[in-house]
């Protein structure tokens, strides 16, 4: 995709994923002329997704490799824990892993589709327990944008009225699919243990979208936006309950930026997209206002400039911090929007720990289709808020539980290490053992809130540039006791559930939470690095993702997050990006940008 020559743009957006895609959609639908720059290649899930292919059709039975860490069929292009020619480093004593995807739509192409709203507590965590920071806005401020985001992208789930686990208004969520057999067993165990096990919230259509009603709800009084939105919704099919979402979805049943938000944005005629455009820095004029961005055209390896009245950086939390830090000028010697020195600071990921088990009751289950909507149908939202408030736990924030296992498509490792159950059978006995144990394994993954701390940040590595000549990032990372204790608690909870299911734990329970917790970045929920706030001395952005120092510069991805609730960040990124985009439109219309 090429830029139209000499076209004038109101807004240039860096990035095409959850944040960039959403901003482009809202701005283009609002009549704003937008240029989007994407560092990766053009990508079309409709024609490129390997639906239905078996592991035996792929190299190495589809197992993960250096170049395709989540497996051969994973949608990620030119990315993973490494990107060729685009290194990063961790400071001594730190370990941080940074997942990137260099493709149109970024990580929305392979994400888990788990779409949980932050609740009222999650926006005011400091007020509640004195740790971290409060957001400059409340749940009530963001709720209308959660409503709109869910209505647009399509999210299944249920309203359970649980503490700090917001319900959606009627007519927003789609009907959740019935639970799988293993999930029903977990629910029964949860009933015994007092752990709620309820329908998950996942960005997958279980019904065709009600295009007319939803497009009017989203865009009252805007016929163009209604038309492009309704047309896009009508082009999406409901899930047919086969093939993993992580490969992408050629029938557009799940949310991916290139199938859900970019097509209607393009249909307005207000959006141009340039791919293979690696942004290096935001440019400024003599007065310190942003004038656009410098990027490297990866095909010519030459530097280009894209000018616009407003710059929206939505390149993913760390990449956005990198761009700001690399945007040095005489006015901004330490990087643009960084007068406070806070750019790159307070990086957060999600606390991740998991336990697996084997459930004798699930051996030899009668054959039945357990694929479902790819993602989990049930999950456990955090349930011990009151115990935490009373100081009964040795960690301050919650986690939710993600369920897995059962009779899913056999993969490379499905029967690895079966010797521990079989005593080393082979021959006919081994064949029968495989049939017996298939589908009897379960796993539980905790996803918990990390509290921001001073020791987790990224900075420009003085010793390294990437193949585009752009200085790279160096990461610093340290978990606090809150996260380590939480990881220990997770493991004991999961062991309790497995035992309540009549099963046995098959992984090692680590009493030192530090040994159980996944390395920083590994859960791929990194946020922070350009935090928002209501005090310009202690934050980079205001509540509309607008730089305090450069009023026509916005950062709309995970970087503005001041806390990282256990709820997976993507839905909140999109809702907050929509809110920021409405603000940009308002300010443009008022002549203030």
């Amino acid at each position: 995709m090429r830029r139209k020559a000499q076209q004038q743009y109101d807004v240039v957006i860096v990035g095409s994923g959850a944040a960039g895609g959403m901003c482009a959609y809202v701005l283009a639908c609002s009549g704003v002329r937008v240029l989007m720059l994407e560092a990766g290649r053009d990508y079309d899930p409709v024609t490129e997704t390997p639906m239905f292919q078996l592991p035996s059709d792929a190299p190495l039975r589809g197992v993960g490799t250096r170049e395709k860490p989540f497996g051969f069929y994973d949608a990620t292009v030119d990315g993973g824990w490494e990107v060729p020619g685009e290194p990063y480093s961790s400071a001594e004593g730190s370990e941080f892993r940074w997942w990137r995807a260099r493709m149109l739509g970024g990580r929305t192409n392979h994400w888990g589709r788990i779409s949980l709203r932050n609740g009222p507590y999650d926006f005011k965590p400091y007020s509640r327990d004195g740790l971290g920071f409060d957001w400059p806005m409340s749940y009530e401020d963001v709720a209308p944008y959660y409503d709109k985001t869910e209505a647009l992208i399509g999210v299944f789930g249920s309203n359970e009225g649980l503490e700090n686990t917001p319900d959606s208004p009627p007519g927003i969520l789609q009907e959740p699919p019935a639970p799988r057999a293993n999930e029903m067993l977990v629910r029964r165990a949860g009933d015994e243990l007092g752990i709620p096990v309820v329908p998950s919230h996942i960005a997958i259509l279980t019904r065709p979208q009600d295009a007319d009603r939803l497009s009017r709800f989203l865009w009252p009084g805007n016929p163009t936006a209604q038309r492009v939105t309704a047309e896009s919704m009508r082009s999406r099919a409901a899930c047919f309950y086969a093939t993993p979402c992580g490969r992408g979805c050629s029938i557009k049943a799940n949310f991916q930026s290139p199938t859900v938000v970019l097509p209607p944005a393009l249909a307005t005629g207000n959006l141009d997209i340039v791919t293979d455009a690696m942004v290096r820095e935001v440019t400024v004029d003599a007065s310190g206002r942003a004038t656009g961005v410098h990027y490297i055209d990866k095909r010519t390896r030459l530097e280009e400039h894209a000018g616009a009245r407003v710059v929206v950086v939505a390149a993913s939390a760390c990449e956005s911090a990198r761009i700001l830090l690399n945007s040095k000028s005489s006015i901004f010697p330490d990087g643009i929007a960084n007068g406070t020195g806070l750019v790159g600071k307070y990086l957060m990921d999600t606390v991740g720990a998991s336990v697996s088990g084997q459930i004798p009751a699930m051996e030899n289950m009668p054959p039945h289709n357990a694929d479902g909507a790819s993602a989990m149908h049930l999950y456990s939202p955090w349930w011990l808020y009151q115990e935490q408030a009373r100081g009964q736990l040795d960690f301050a924030r919650g986690y939710h539980i993600e369920l897995g296992g059962g009779r899913r498509m056999p993969g490379f490792g499905t029967f690895s290490g079966l010797e521990r159950y079989t005593g080393g059978s082979y021959g006919q006995q081994f064949k029968e053992d495989c049939r017996r144990y298939y589908g009897s394994f379960v796993n539980f993954a905790g996803r918990g809130e990390m509290i921001p701390n001073e020791d987790c940040y990224c900075e420009i590595d003085p010793d390294q540039v990437d193949q585009w000549g752009i200085p790279t990032l160096r990461f610093h990372w340290k978990w606090s006791e809150h996260e380590e204790n939480q990881a220990r608690h997770m493991q004991h909870t999961f062991a309790d559930i497995i035992e309540a299911m009549g099963g046995r734990v098959t992984s090692t329970i680590r009493e030192d939470g530090a040994d159980a917790i996944a390395p920083g970045g590994e859960i791929i929920h990194e946020v922070g690095g350009a935090i928002m706030g209501d005090d310009p001395r202690r934050s980079v952005l205001n509540q509309f993702c607008q730089s305090w120092e450069v009023d026509n510069l916005f950062v709309t991805d995970g970087a503005p997050f001041v806390s990282n609730a256990d709820k997976n960040p993507t839905l909140s990124i999109m809702a907050i990006a929509w809110r920021a985009s409405d603000y940009i439109v308002e300010q443009l219309n008022a002549g203030r940008l």
Binding site: F52, Q53, P179, M365, L418, G423
Partner: protein, 213 residues
């Protein structure tokens, strides 16, 4: 596209081409290892392979002699029965060749384990059953005598630990190869990976099996 159209399109897409091998290459990050045959947008590099027409860009390393012994061992591990063929019939030994030839550290380690194990297996056969005996030429009882001794890493007799580790690795790789094929999945009763018009709760016999009625 409505659902009916979508299902039709997917039914066509499901008829995926089988794997083909191509010329080996000393693949760097940007080197095209195979032209993108089915997906013109894909660069055809290891980081951006054509997912619709996969190729294996590395050369196989096992000899035909090694493969012959490996096939015998694969069938001892997963023999044919009334529900499905033996492992070699579904190409388990060829998959192991593909696996141990791949340019990744864990695969290179497995190559040492597998090739060393195959040499050991013939040596053990000769030691037990007379000079010149090859494992694949032993009778079933003789083969079983050896395999019974190396069937468990945890219980391996002294001196046979390496043999047990080799056997365990080949068993895992054989299982990985076998059960991920269409025939293997059918044997297991994996009935997914088909488009459904609607999603139903587990059937009554499953709920009965789990005591969830």
């Amino acid at each position: 596209m409505d659902r009916r159209q979508a299902l039709k399109v997917m039914a066509i897409a499901a008829a995926v081409p089988s794997l083909t091998s191509c010329a080996p290459t000393d693949a760097g990050d940007d080197v095209v290892v195979a032209p993108a045959a089915a997906n013109p947008k894909a660069a055809g590099t290891a980081w951006d392979p054509d997912l619709l027409a996969p190729v294996i860009p590395w050369e196989r390393t096992l000899t035909s002699d090694e493969l012959e012994t490996l096939a015998t061992l694969c069938d001892i591990i997963i023999p044919a029965d009334e529900r499905s063929p033996g492992a070699s019939q579904l190409g388990a030994h060829d998959f192991i060749d593909e696996w141990v030839s791949a340019p990744y550290a864990r695969n290179e380690r497995d190559q040492v384990t597998v090739r060393g194990g195959l040499v050991w297996l013939d040596g053990e056969s000769a030691g037990r059953f007379g000079e010149g005996s090859r494992f694949r030429e032993l009778d079933a009882a003789q083969q079983r005598a050896i395999c019974d001794d190396i069937r468990s890493v945890a219980d391996a007799p002294s001196g046979l630990e390496a043999g047990a580790r080799f056997f365990d690795r080949v068993r895992d790789l054989t299982a990985a190869a076998f059960w991920t094929t269409r025939e293997g999945m059918q044997d297991l009763g994996y009935v997914g990976n088909v488009p459904l018009a609607r999603w139903d709760p587990p059937p009554p016999e499953v709920l009965r099996h789990l005591g969830l009625e």
